[in-house]
Structures are given as C-alpha cells and as structure tokens.
Amino acid sequence: MASTERDRGSPSSRAVALGISLALVCSASGCRTQGKPDAGASAALHWQAALVDRSVLSAPERADLAASVLREDRWERTEDLHQRTLEAAWRVALGASPQRIVSSVHRVFRGVRRFRKPTDQEEVALRWLTPHGPELPPEGAALYRQLHARARGRLAELGRDRAESAIDAHRFDLARRLLTRALELEPGAADTAELLATLGERERQHDRREPRLTLRTWDVPLAAELVSGSLGPAHVSPTPERELDFVAAAALLLQGQHEAAREGFLALADAPDPLGPLASRWLERPDVDVDGELARAVHGYRVKRLLGWIGGNALAERGTSFTMRSFDVWKNSFTLSNMGVSLPARLVRGWKPDGQPVREAALHYLERKPSGPQAGFARSWLDQVGWPDPDALGFQASFPLPSARSQFERLRLLPVIVSRGAVASGHVTGSSTLLSALEDAPAARLEVHYPPRPVAAEDELELDGFPFARDTARRLLDELAAGIERDHFRWSLETREAALERLRELDAALERGGVLYAESWSPPDLDLLGSFSTTALEGTDQRGALALERGDDDMVAVSDVGNELRACPRDILCIDRERFFRTALYGYAGLSSGAGLGFQSSTKLLGMGLGMTESGPEASLVLPIGRWLAIDAWLPLEAELSLGADPYIGPSCARRSAATLSRTPTKPASAGSCPSASARAASFASTER
C-alpha cells in the first residue's frame, strides 16, 4: 500500500509528473505555441507551476484516492480468485490426481472466503478519508460511513473474542465492559446481545456457586473459639460430621502442623460441594501441600510439552481449554505439513514449554523439604527446566537500573553488506578503506558506530573494521543508492524501497555523528543437516551456497551459481553486482508436486530452464514480452513455453512467475517444473532472503 501512496504522491509531485508528461508529449509531437518558441520553455513553466503549488490534497482528491485503493484491492482479489479457479479447472481438465483437485478446490474456497474478509487496504482507504468533514463529496462520505462501520465492526468482533475469553476465566466485570463497548461500537448486534445473555447466565451460575452461610447445631461455640483465636485441635471432638473435619484440619494448620493438616484436607478433597472444593483450594497452596504443587506443575508441564510437540505454542497454550478457539488450534495441528514435517522437527529440536511453574514448585519444595522424599525429583526437574538466574533479581539489591538486557533488533542500526563484485562494478568509487576490508573476503560489512562520549583515546577504541572519512562514507552510500535505483545492483530485501531505506538510515546515522566502518565479511560455512532442521522448523534457512525453503507441503533447495554473497543473513541488506546471466540450480520435493531437480538461467530479456521431474525431463522457455515492449511496469506480460511429460504445468505457474518477474526484473524465469515449488525457488534464488 505504501507504494500506492507513493505512486499517487502529493499534488506537487503529481503536478511535476504532469509537467514532465506534457513536456514529453510536446517534444514528441514537436508542438509549438505562439510566443513560446520551444517545448523546453513550456516544460520549465510547468515545473515552475508545480513547485509553486503548495496546496494539500483536496477532499475530493482524497475520496478519489480512497476509492481507487479499494478498487485496486478488489481487482487484486478478483484476479487471485480467477487464477485459483483457472488452476483448479486446468487440473480437472488434465485429469490430475484427486488429491491435487481437492487441494485446488480448497484454494478456490479460500479465495472466496478471502473476498469477504476485511483487508488492510480498507484501513488505508479510511486514512485517506480522514478527516471526514462536510468537505468530502457525497460518495466519499458514504464510503467513509461504510468503511467506518466495518472498522467498528472489526473492533466489536475483537471485543467479543476477548469477552468470550474473559467469561471463560470468570472475569465477568471485564467481559461486561468489553461487551458494553462492543454494543456501543455496533448497536443492536445480535452476537453481542447473545454473549451478554450468556454472561448474565454465567454470572448467576457463579453466584449460586458461592456457598451461603448457615448455622449448625454445634457451630456457635466452635466458631466463637475460632474467631477469638483460642481454638486448638483438641477442642474439635471427632464426629461423623465432615465439616468438623475441615475445622480440625484448619486448626492444625493454624498451629503449624502442616503434614497433619494436609492429610486432613486430602481426606476431604473428594467431599461434595462446597467442602471438597474448599479443601482442594487449600491443598493447592504451596504452604499446605508442597508435594501436590510439584506434582501438578510437573503434570501440567508434561501435558503442555506433549501438546507443543503436536501443535507448537498455539496448541500448548490453548489445547486444554474447551472453546472454539481451541478447536481451531486442534484443527490446524492436524494438517499434513504439521504432522509430516513440523511435528518431527519439534521432536528433534526438543521443543519445551515455559518451565516457570515447575521451577517455582520445585523451589518451593526444596525450601520446605530440602531432604524430603521428592527432593531429588525436584532437583532433576530444576536441571531440566533451568535453575533460577542468579542475576534475575539482582535489581532488588541496588539501583540505578541495569542496562536493558534484551537484544531489541528493532532498535539496532542494521549493517549493509556489499560484495566485491559490486565494488568492482565501476558504479562505486574505490576507496582504500573499502579495498582494505575486501582484501581477504568476498564482501564488506558496512556499519555505523557512534563514538563514545567522552571520546576515548584512540588506542582504547576496540571497534572492528576500518573507519571511513565522513565525505567518503556519504559518497559511498549515495553511489550504492544510485546503483540500486538504476538496477546496476541487485539487493536482498523484498523491495527497492526497503533497500533504499536501509541506506537512508545509515546516512541519517552519519548525520547524527556516527562513523561508518567497513570490515571483512564472508558467508558462513554450509551445515546441511542444521539447514534442513532449521528449514523444517522455521520455514526457511540460508547457509553457505544453499538456500532452503519449506512450503505447506514441499521443500525447495536452491543454489545460485556465481553469487559472491551467496548467503545473506536474514533481514540484512546485501548488495551485489547485477549479472547479465543468472543461473540457479534447484531441487524440490513435495507431497503434491513430487520431486525434481534442474537449473534455471536467465537474462533480462529471456529465461530458460531444464529440469528432471518424476514424470521425466522437461524444458521451458520464458519470454518476458512486457519487458521487450518496455511496458512491464504496467503489464508484466510474458509467455512461457514448456515441453515435458508432466501435465501439471498450469497457467498459475506462469502467472506467479510473471508477478515475481515484475517485482524483481532480473530474476531467473520459472522452469515450470511444478506449480509452487519452482516458482518459489526462482524468487528465492533471486532475492536470497
């Protein structure tokens, strides 16, 4: 969406664009006007007008922008649905396996459902329509009302979800507040009204659960002794009355006889309501039943661990409750990819839940019974879940506060990695600093450090790398940005804007007094087994020359040939020289796509691939017609010619390839070996994330 906003630009930029367009049209048609001898003067006038225009977007313009945002969003969703439908029809027509047909039909249904769901674009459109005063045209005002109502509906839905959880947790006050708010947001909503009725019912049930006071025949003298603090256990004579047993157990506890009191409460734990639950509540207290606390914590940990192995964090947290959300989590846990790939991966990695309850219970036990029968058991569990960090509570003894310990990546100024090829491409002015960093390494890592205050003596500074002079540093950043803008370089981040933003951040840091350093950087060594397990668990991994990505039901491995950077760390901007030829070797294996391997090679104007699938060899040729006609920015048209024994080269494969090609103009073309795997392989190889 950001790009849409940028594309639209401010009135000034639009006026500039208009001026340029007019100038181009004029110059192309050779137009002449009286008193204005050439097009250059006309263009200059337009430029001047554009620069003088300082007006902000008018309300009708904003309304128009909002409508266009929604129109584009609808078009994108329609296109997506059309593509899914076409793919399903293609598979049916070619007699694909039932599994593939079912999978395609499922995708179509998901596409239809997506149509009904609110999107981020609605938020963007709403922002364009705000403020929504009387200056908005009627259609804009109507659109605002519609979007605003939907936004309120979403908030109400969120409130209902939270209220439902609050009801489950018996937090009735909170639930009522949330539902009242949901009703204000969406007056008359039936869902909210029904939940309010449910809440009222649950509150009444809960009230009824509170036992009411009554007087037994023997009660008064005993209660008088209790409340005045003069009751001893001996005063409670043994009777068949179970309530007296509770009083006796309480008296024992009041006198510090924990074991005897625990036995008393244990004997009552099975008693009917309200005595049983009351006794059980006391047994849950660590000061009464430290053994029980440890046993319950260990049991809870084991259950969570089992659920976590099956369905990860979501199932571990919600798997034991009895709600629709929990049902959803269970349902999602039984997908093929989870059972086939993620579950074994979690087992291999030894997934563990949060061990804090066990840690606390074990510590309570050791505190109360350091030599008790379960002491060894408690210690073994502490070994397993971790003993408490001795520094964790260090703050209690002294102040000022320690430094923030978390590594907040968001706050860190991220480095940029530049390959030797990019430096030698001629688009970057050589500097001794950069060459020193590249002396023994294929790439240089550029990072900004702030000089410490007060400035330390030079020999005390322990920063790695070679510092740039300020002017050289800024020139280098400018040249790298220009290379990215002009497609002289390729970059590792998703979009050109994201890559440029990283450079801008470094530039801003220089402005704030930072110093740019360059140090040698080499890609990490390949650890194939570690890569596979990381990919299985986390979805992607990139170590050394091999990039791996796991989809819902397949895994792709790609090696980009001749790539100097090879393994760019995740979320770091890596810049490499743009090569005329780009070649990637790939292999894939999947439940619906089968297995295959091959290579893809492409230039900006042609792409080809050769592969071997389960059905035999195949070849493909991609002709980026849109690029040939220089219209790919608006219409990324391309033709894909495939030859092979596998009948499942559907139009979606080409469509995806075209979409990716339009974003990264130099990516290798799809080899057409499978609908999902190779397309991802191609984009993966080209972006190196």
Binding site: S228, Q356, E360, F399, S406
Partner: protein
C-alpha cells in the same frame, strides 16, 4: 467471521450449561457451616497482605470482600439489632471486623470491634485490642487537609510515611505490621505521584527508585517497576517534545539513558511470576518500542 462468531455463541451456552450441569446438579446454593467459614477466614488471615496476593482466589476475587459480603447478607437475613444479639451474632460481627480491616476500612472495622467489645468475654478482649490498634491506623489514614499548599501537603505526606513506618515497626501482631507496611507503601507511591505533578519527573524518578529499594519484598514490586518505567518513558516523551519544538537534536540529551532505563524497568517487571504484571510490562515494552520507531522516523 460472523459465522464463526455465531457458531461460537451457539456453542458457548451449550458448553456452559453442560459444565454447569456437571458441576452443580442442584439449583439452590450450597450451604456452609459458620465454623467452616470462620476457619477458612482465619487461615486467610495468616497471609501476609504486603508480600503476597494470597487473598485473591482462583477467579481473582478478594476472599475478604467475598467473606464480608456473605457475612453482611447473613446478618441482614437475621435482622437483629445489637441489643438483641446472641453469641453467634457477635461471632459474625468479629469476623466481619476482620474482613473490614483487611480491606483497609479501618473506621468501619473499629465500629464493628466496638460492638463486639460489648459482648461476651472470649471475643470482647481481642475486639478491644484490635479496636485500639485500629484507632491509631484510622488516625494515620485521615484525609489530607484540602486547603494546604503543595509544600505543606508534601510535608504531611512525609509525616504520614514516618508515622506508618513507626507503626509497622512497633506492631507485634504480624498481620497489623503487614497492613501498616502496605500503608507505608501506599503513601510513598502517593508521594512519588505528587512529586511528579508538583516538582517534575526528575524528583519523582529519584523518589521512585527509593521506593523500589524500600519495598523490594512487596507483592507490588513489579508494579513499582512498571511505574518507574512509566516515569522514565514520560521523561523520554518530554525530551522529544522539547527537542522538536526547539529544533534540537536528540543526541547529547538524556533521551537514550531514560529510554534504556524505561526499557530495563519494564523488562524486570516482565519477569514477575504473576501473569497480570508480566502482560502489562510486555505491552509497555511494545508501546515504548513503537514510540521509539515513531521518534526515529520523525512521526512525532
């Protein structure tokens, strides 16, 4: 989405009614004898209200508030005036007074104790003793003068802190000592907020750091850390606003140090065992980071 919500709504009453049916076969509330209720209350009275949240039950309700409600209902059902009270009524009133003092309602607790002190001997003695203690508490909890200047208010707050501290040290009954410590903590928190309002954030931060040191064993310790983090975060916002208005760079200001302190305080609070504090601290961390992003991108 609406379908899902409807399905949930349909399922919820079913589930709840099933659960209710399984758990409570009867429609009338269960009955519990006075002795059992009193013994339960006595057990809770052993808890240290300053250090622990044991007075909260599994549903997050304050057991003393629930006990007070039940006792008052029972008293209303009996409908007897003190002149006509029997032994059980004095028992109920003494238990009532205990719940009131744990809810910091000292004046009402004194009244209840004084009524019990008129009754039979076994209960009259402890009631008189408690009333005497609570007279001191009630005097220290009296409202601040409305027409005093800020300096006078601050001096009065300091006097109260000193007096409550002295009371906490002098109490031989651990329950009352714990209550007094809660009061010291409450007045110190008030002092910090008063300083923040009247003297600026710098003094308030210093005072809060002292408070955190004094009350390291308090059950509210994570809460103090969150509030200390809030003060640092407020200082960060203050610095940003001044820098923006005066077209100054943030470098060279205390922006980074306050930001780091706020983050550190929230981090420490997020290690608290109670989920309530953990969640609050984590959301504060996210909010602070979002603010930081905004500052770095010139949003503010």
């Amino acid at each position: 989405m609406r379908d899902r919500a409807r399905a949930r709504i349909c399922l919820l009453p079913l589930v709840s009614s099933l659960a209710a049916g399984c758990a409570h076969g009867q429609s009338d509330p269960p009955l519990l004898g006075l002795s059992v209720s009193i013994s339960d209350l006595q057990l809770h009275l052993r808890d240290d209200p300053y250090r622990s949240f044991n007075q909260l039950d599994g549903d997050g309700q304050n057991v003393f508030a629930v006990a007070r409600w039940k006792i008052e209902r029972f008293q209303r059902e009996r409908g007897l005036l003190p002149d006509g009270w029997q032994l059980e009524d004095y028992v109920l009133e003494l238990a009532h007074a205990r719940t009131l003092e744990r809810l910091h309602l000292y004046r009402q607790a004194i009244d209840a104790y004084e009524r019990v002190a008129q009754g039979p001997a076994p209960m009259a003695a402890p009631a008189r003793s408690s009333a005497q203690t609570l007279q001191r508490f009630a005097a220290l909890a009296r409202p601040l003068p409305a027409d005093a200047s800020p300096d006078e208010i601050l001096a009065e707050i300091d006097r109260r802190i000193a007096a409550w501290t002295e009371a906490a040290e002098q109490m031989t009954d651990p329950g009352y000592a714990s209550l007094a410590r809660e009061e010291v903590e409450g007045w110190e928190r008030l002092r910090v907020h008063f300083l923040a309002r009247e003297r600026g954030l710098g003094d308030a931060i210093d005072a809060y750091e002292q408070l955190v040191r004094h009350h390291a064993e308090s059950k509210l310790h994570p809460r103090h850390l969150i509030e200390l983090g809030d003060l640092h975060a407020e200082e960060v916002r203050d610095i940003v606003l001044w820098a923006r208005a005066q077209q100054e760079a943030l470098e060279g200001t205390a922006f980074e140090s306050h930001f780091d302190s706020a983050l550190a305080a929230y981090e420490l609070a997020s290690e608290a065992p109670l989920p309530m504090f953990r969640e609050e601290a984590q959301s504060r961390i996210q909010a602070l980071l979002a603010y930081h992003d905004g500052v770095m991108n010139g949003v503010y």
